[in-house]
């Protein structure tokens, strides 16, 4: 008899489990070596507590999708990420601890899925949160741990796209774009619709300013994409990324792809944002960023930064390009990018 399990979930049998365990062990060892202590939190939390994170729009991946009512009538949710539960944990259990606080986790998270896309309802995440270390030092440390983690599992060819969630909003303010147009422009940027982005930008400003904004939004590549910025407003808005790069060693820097148009769709990011890509994988295998306002909503205002890696995606990337030659070529390693 074959009995079904919900779509987007799966059983793991010994062969896969053994290999996955190798990935997990490498990550745990690396996080421990870097001084991050592993924590565990309950999979179910009070909705009223997690909602303090202020995650708004329904399309947000970080919004909990599985809800139930407990015996007292309280709404419980299954966590959709670990960043929000750890923000709660730090405020509640580390209230007197001198920052920085370095925590790591290996935990299942639960999300809603779209049918037919191979998405996981239950995903296993491994990551860190560094609380009480601001930009740029804290961000530099998190990126260094991240690149080391990718190397530890054997994915030295993976790359981390780095953007700054504060860059474009600040640039829009500097060029004097109005409140309503600003929201439209940021929406198009977040949904990666460059056609809509150009339409909204041209409607909001003059030709010269529009050309500047579109140029910045399309810039991706190595440190040269920052060096080549000439407009003083764009240089000012990108100073966060420049300061970050100054604090990162060459080895880590060689794994980064700057993307000035990158914003993450999660509402709580305030500064640097990361997306991790592995050769052969069309989807991001991890991500993260700075969330300097989140811990304050839970009662312990501390700047913070973190990232999460999708353990099964790491495993898939390690198994490699088994699905045919038309997958992204693993031998192609980016040698810098360009500005459009």
């Amino acid at each position: 008899m074959t009995l079904p399990i919900p779509s987007g979930t799966r059983d793991v049998l010994p062969d896969e489990m053994r290999e996955r365990q190798g990935v997990v062990t490498a990550l745990r060892d690396h996080f421990a070596t870097c001084g991050y202590g592993e924590v565990s939190t309950p999979a179910v939390e009070y909705a009223s507590v997690l909602e303090r994170a202020g995650i708004g729009p329904s399309e947000d991946a970080a919004r909990p999708r599985f809800r139930t009512i407990d015996e007292h009538g309280e709404t419980l949710v299954l966590r959709s990420d670990m960043t929000v539960p750890i923000a709660r944990l730090v405020a509640s259990r580390f209230g007197d601890v001198e920052p920085p606080i370095r925590l790591s986790y290996l935990a299942h998270c639960y999300r809603g899925i779209l049918p037919g896309r191979g998405e996981a309802r239950e995903l296993l995440q491994a990551g860190i949160e560094l609380c009480g270390a601001g930009a740029p030092e804290g961000t530099a440390e998190a990126l260094t741990v991240l690149v080391g983690a990718l190397r530890a599992v054997g994915l030295d060819g993976a790359r981390v796209a780095v953007g700054d969630a504060a860059l474009f909003p600040e640039l829009l303010d500097a060029v004097g774009v109005g409140e309503r147009e600003r929201a439209e422009i940021l929406h198009e940027l977040a949904t990666r619709d460059h056609v809509g982005l150009e339409r909204e930008i041209r409607a909001a400003t003059d030709d010269a300013t529009a050309a500047l904004l579109l140029d910045v939004a399309a810039r991706r590549g190595g440190p040269e994409v920052l060096d080549q910025l000439e407009d003083p407003r764009a240089r000012e808005a990108s100073r966060g990324l420049r300061q970050l790069l100054e604090r990162i060693d060459d080895d880590v820097r060689s794994h980064l792809i700057l993307d000035l148009g990158l914003t993450r769709k999660l509402g709580y990011y305030t500064g640097a944002v990361f997306e991790v890509y592995a050769p052969g994988q069309g989807h991001a295998i991890g991500g993260g960023g700075r969330y300097d306002d989140l811990l304050g909503r839970f009662g312990r205002p501390l700047p913070a930064v973190g990232f999460a890696l999708d353990v099964d995606a790491l495993h898939t990337a390690l198994v490699g390009v088994a699905r045919g030659r038309w997958r992204v070529d693993p031998t192609v390693i980016p040698n810098g990018g360009s500005a459009a």
Partner: protein, 215 residues
């Protein structure tokens, strides 16, 4: 592989000719694609061909780096994680609400007297959002082809479908009642390729859009 080193998903059907013309113009030899309409994968040109509605699926998964497909496909499959890089301008068509010609409009009549109208479409996503945004109750009937037949047989009161010239609607005694969206071909890119192959992607975009501002 083509000179850009990018795998390109190209839609078969009405957009194929224009798409191949554009690729020829930027230095990709598409003669083999033109001469063979059964083969799907062309290694030398770095081209894969497929139904327009599948292009976003391949690009999102990274099975192709970039693709060409209609805005209508992207609107219908909203939420696909692809970068919409450029409006290529060709393949214009409109998504319209149409019903049997004559006055009063049978769809309006159904809404007035029955409180709901039945609408047949292949584009349930676009149609669903459109009626929700315009505050009308509808029952969507998903059909897979010859949508024009549905109102003629009494299956539905109206249809939401793609039209380029309006000829098919006219020949079936239907009339356009409202325009829902205007669509042209778009260049889309896998988010990983957009970063990992930034130089090649930007070069292809610039070549395809010689007059693009900001390029």
């Amino acid at each position: 592989m083509n000179r850009y080193g990018l795998r390109i998903a190209v839609p078969r059907g009405t957009m194929l000719g224009d798409a191949l013309d554009h690729l020829d113009r930027v230095g990709i030899d598409t003669s083999e694609v033109r001469s063979n309409d059964r083969k799907l994968l062309f290694e030398d040109a770095g081209i894969v061909t497929m139904r327009p509605s599948d292009v976003a699926t391949y690009v999102e998964a990274g099975a192709a780096d970039v693709g060409i497909t209609g805005k209508d496909v992207l609107m219908e499959q909203r939420g696909r994680d692809v970068v919409e890089l450029a409006d290529l301008g060709f393949g214009p068509c409109r998504i319209v609400l149409a019903s049997v010609a004559g006055d009063p409009d049978p769809a309006v009549e159904a809404l007035r007297r029955l409180g709901i109208m039945r609408v047949a479409t292949k584009y349930t996503g676009i149609a669903g959002r459109f009626f929700e945004e315009t505050g009308r109750q509808v029952e969507l009937v998903k059909v897979n082809g010859s949508v024009e037949l549905a109102p003629l047989t009494g299956l539905v009161d109206a249809i939401v479908d793609l039209t380029a010239t309006g000829t098919t609607l006219r020949e079936n005694g239907l009339v356009e009642r409202e325009e829902i969206a205007f669509s042209t071909a778009r260049l889309i890119v896998n988010p990983a390729a957009h970063r990992l192959k930034a130089a090649a992607v930007d070069e292809l975009r610039r070549a395809l859009l010689p007059a693009a501002p900001g390029a």
